[in-house]
């Protein structure tokens, strides 16, 4: 990344000098343009935020009532010190965007996190042509290739049914923003009752306010008779797996974890859950290559994940690519490093 280019990498994050704004900064700045509401992209403490309007409620939950937040819909353009800034769907989670930045004919796209696979809870990824494309590489190895989601939802359904026959609760760990709602939207809702951890409940409510179809849920903390959990599905963030006291209330239960990392057996065993479901909100290997190709960029900057591997592969195939050392982490790891917004696993929804 050229030192005097339109976008540079600084110790606070990706910076547009001409427009004097940062994209997903990890240290406080005066003006932050945000791609999506996951903790490693949306930090508190910036003076002003510009976020995609399609995820407004989520940003509000993340940033609190005090934050100064301006919104802008997908496809709309605003000028910041002469720099054109627009949001385009990234297909990652509700209200996730790629940020397109243009100045004097030079176009950059910072894609944040994204996936190409259909997801009924958010707008589909839109390919945006540019000169410089910044891509993630969370799952940038050819072993990561997702199956159609119907199969995964069917697996979750049959796991839930089998547990129900044994009078067990099914406790499914999934990232509280995006993955949880995508699962609830996709599974067979007639099987039984769905309960949610506080972190999930609050964000799910925000999804509903944005008009996303999510089945009815009950906050776990509001349940007095623990027998209600028998045969039910409980959705909780990955961090809740460590909260032994919190889990005890479900009595006999089976645990599951929904993540792209579950592709590899070792990672699933390391998680020590009963079932791993391979479901990710990130692009798999073929999708990464497809998205990169469709950007038709002169230069591809590759951040978090298997960035060095993706860079080498692209270079060997005639594409100019450069690794970029950001502090984004990708996928469920974020929730463990940053904690769920609600702090303790016991916290009730607001």
């Amino acid at each position: 990344m050229a030192k005097n280019g339109l976008i540079t990498l600084t110790s606070r994050g990706l910076y547009c000098g001409q427009g004097d704004f940062y994209i997903d900064p990890w240290k406080p700045v005066s003006r932050a343009v945000i791609t999506h509401a996951h903790a490693d992209h949306t930090y508190r403490g910036n003076q002003e935020y510009l976020v995609p309007a399609e995820g407004e409620r989520l940003f509000r939950i993340r940033l609190g009532d005090e934050a100064s937040i301006a919104t802008q819909g997908y496809g709309q353009t605003r000028l910041i010190n002469g720099v054109k800034v627009s949001f385009h769907p990234a297909g990652h989670v509700l209200g996730s965007a790629q940020v397109r930045v243009e100045y004097k004919g030079e176009v950059w796209v910072i894609s944040g996190d994204y996936k190409l696979m259909p997801d009924a809870t958010c707008a589909p990824f839109e390919a945006v042509k540019c000169h410089h494309f910044v891509t993630e590489a969370t799952f940038g190895l050819p072993i990561y290739r997702w199956q159609p989601t119907e199969f995964i939802f069917e697996d979750i359904n049959s796991w839930w049914r089998r547990n129900q026959e044994k009078e067990k609760a099914s406790v499914l760990f999934a990232y509280s923003l995006g993955k949880s709602q995508r699962i609830m939207n996709g599974i067979e809702r007639l099987i039984g009752k769905i309960f949610t951890h506080g972190a999930v409940e609050r964000l799910t409510q925000a999804y509903r306010e944005h008009g996303v179809d999510v089945p009815d849920t009950t906050y776990v903390g509001s349940v007095e008779n623990r027998k209600e959990f028998i045969g039910s599905l409980v959705i909780a963030p990955p961090s809740a797996q460590q909260a032994v006291g919190w889990l005890r209330r479900f009595g006999k239960h089976s645990t599951g974890f929904a993540s792209g990392w579950m592709m590899v057996r070792g990672a699933r065993r390391q998680r020590a859950v009963d079932r791993g479901f391979v479901l990710s909100d990130h692009a798999d290997w073929p999708e990464l290559l497809k998205a990169i190709a469709s950007a038709e960029a002169e230069t591809v900057y590759v951040t978090h994940g298997f960035s060095e591997e993706v860079v080498r592969f692209l270079n060997e195939n005639g594409q100019n690519a450069i690794p970029l050392k950001t502090q984004f982490v990708g996928d469920a790891v974020a929730e463990e490093i940053f904690g769920s917004e609600e702090g303790s696993a016991e916290a009730p929804p607001a």
Binding site: L141, P142, I143, R145, Q147, Q242, M263, V264, R265, G266, A267, R268, R269, Q270, A272, D274, R275, G276, F306, E309, R312, F313, E316, E336, I337
Partner: protein, 540 residues
């Protein structure tokens, strides 16, 4: 193959013992005996010699996946397992291979060994294209001789015992030693009506295993109820003499008779119908040699006269479990030991030199025993074994009758300097560490350790490694020296092959010392002082 793959997936997916047993029962109740025999064979950790070299499987997968070789290697490092990497790299099919397990193994797999590469390739790649991802994984593991799944033989035996309504000990005993995975074998294994258990002459007994005493030793009551003996660190072995033949088995049920000809020769003079349990030890000038010396012999196909002279071995026998053709495992230990003593005292001098009986250590109380135990390191032992005089010889690991009373490990504070990704469960995390100690102003590598941290700590260290890599050498990352860990180990030995000049046995991480700075870590001087204190025989 379908049913067996489902079993594999079930076993692989759960950590709960009863669910594993349930899955095993489900399988064995449905599988034909011809398939069940092979399933039992693989599940109990037996494997045919490698059928197709992993190198070839890898090469074909790289070609089919159309990726460069380095990308395969990166993928493999992340997955931690070659068979699984290959299974993941190929497109996932909707088709399922219905070939019965025994047909697949006997007619498709085994004949491939030694076949022309083109024939191997044709068979393997066309199988791959017909199999689901999970089947491919299991198939690759079978073909490369790396099949392993998280069940102990004990668990498989428990499932079969439930199906057959036979006591688990009977099933476990019938499954010992060498056998062929035939339907006859399997039917015999679970036949409840077979009342005479005619033992094939080579078959060993299941080993009785001890737990580490994890409580104040006084909790065991009076010392006089216990046989106290030194805990030797060698190769646990059953030495069998039946029908004029000698068979020696290791704990892993490998036949090791030919590895130790001097012991096999001595055992020839045992009466027929004798089974000894004991420890094979490298022994010279009336003291034990370091375990690494024994490894020199284990690794060798041909034992030269030189190595036999340099590393002679003996058996420290500590139990007699068959005598005059009679299984005496239910006889109390005191009586068994008396019988063993009588047997050993009747040996010729030449035999008695090789087959010895463990020394009994006696003292009035536990405090005195604890004092005597302090001599362990100078004697080259790990502490004491405690065996209740009135106990039977049991099957497998039991709490109560046999205890290991080991000395505390040596410990040292060392600095993390290199990290590498682990395999299996630890794949894609930096879990294999190299630790260093001070030598003047430099940190020199001292030990590698893989285990001892909690999953949460592993993730923290992993993060540290990723954020603080200063240099990369292939898969190894050199990290900024900052984290200090307390490393425990069992023994030290001088070594010219190690930069530090010492080799350590069984190093592991005891705890993360985040209260310490790297300046607080120990130095090589401390380690050499330990070496001198215990007078371990030099081994340059």
């Amino acid at each position: 193959m379908k049913l067996f793959t489902e079993l594999y997936v079930e076993l692989d997916q759960t950590n709960k013992t009863n669910e594993k047993v349930e899955a095993l029962r489900f399988y064995f109740e449905r599988a034909a005996p011809s398939d069940a025999a092979w399933a039992f064979y693989f599940l109990s950790g037996r494997k045919p010699r490698q059928i197709v070299p992993s190198k070839l499987l890898r090469q074909w997968a790289i070609e089919l996946a159309g990726i460069p070789e380095w990308l395969y290697e990166e993928s493999r490092d992340t997955v931690g397992d070659g068979s699984e990497t290959i299974a993941l790299l190929l497109p996932n099919n909707a088709t399922v291979d219905e070939t019965p397990l025994h047909i697949l193994v006997e007619q498709k797999l085994l004949p491939l060994r030694g076949a022309a590469e083109e024939i191997q390739r044709e068979e393997v790649t066309s199988r791959w294209s017909e199999m689901s991802y999970s089947q491919r994984l299991v198939y690759n593991k079978l073909i490369s001789g790396s099949f392993r799944v998280g069940v102990s033989q004990q668990l498989v035996v428990r499932a079969l015992s439930q199906i057959s309504e036979l006591p688990p000990d009977i099933v476990a005993h019938r499954a010992m030693g060498d056998w062929e995975p035939t339907p006859e074998f399997f039917n015999h294994l679970i036949d409840p009506d077979l009342d005479t258990d005619e033992t094939p002459i080579a078959r060993p007994y299941p080993f009785h295993l001890a737990h580490q005493a994890d409580f104040p030793i006084e909790g065991l009551g009076r010392p006089s109820d216990w046989q106290v003996e030194w805990k030797w660190d060698g190769i646990r072995s059953q030495v069998i003499k039946r029908s004029d033949e000698v068979f020696m088995w290791s704990r892993g049920e490998d036949l090791i008779t030919e590895r130790f000809p001097e012991l096999a020769a001595a055992a020839k003079s045992l009466p027929n119908g004798t089974v000894l349990d004991g420890e094979i030890l490298p022994w010279l000038d009336d003291r034990v040699l370091p375990f690494t010396e024994l490894q020199k012999r284990i690794g060798r196909k041909n034992l030269s006269a030189k190595i036999l002279a340099e590393v002679p071995i003996i058996l420290q026998a500590y139990d007699l479990i068959e005598f005059e053709g009679r299984d005496i495992r239910t006889v109390d230990f005191r009586t068994r030991r008396e019988m063993l003593q009588r047997l050993v005292s009747g040996f010729d001098e030449s035999v008695g030199k090789v087959i010895r009986i463990t020394e009994s250590v006696e003292a009035a109380d536990w405090a005195h025993l604890a004092e005597i135990r302090e001599r362990s390191r100078t004697l080259g032992v790990e502490g004491f074994m405690l065996k209740r005089f009135d106990s039977p010889y049991r099957v497998g690991r039991h709490r109560g009758d046999w205890w290991k009373w080991k000395i505390d490990p040596l410990t040292i504070d060392a600095v993390l300097i290199y990290a590498q990704k682990g395999t299996g469960k630890r794949a894609n995390l930096f879990t294999d560490y190299t630790f260093a100690v001070w030598k003047g102003k430099d940190l020199v590598p001292f030990a590698k350790a893989y285990s001892g941290l909690t999953d949460a700590e592993i993730r923290k260290v992993d993060r540290y490694v990723r954020d603080n890599t200063v240099e990369t050498f292939g898969p190894v990352r050199a990290v900024k020296p900052q984290l200090v860990f307390e490393i425990a180990f069992e023994a030290l030995q001088r070594s010219t092959r190690h930069k530090s000049g010492v080799a350590v046995r069984f190093p592991r991480i005891l705890r993360w010392r985040d209260d310490k700075k790297i300046e607080d870590a120990d130095s090589l001087d401390t380690i050499f002082a330990m070496l001198d204190a215990f007078q371990n025989p030099a081994n340059a």
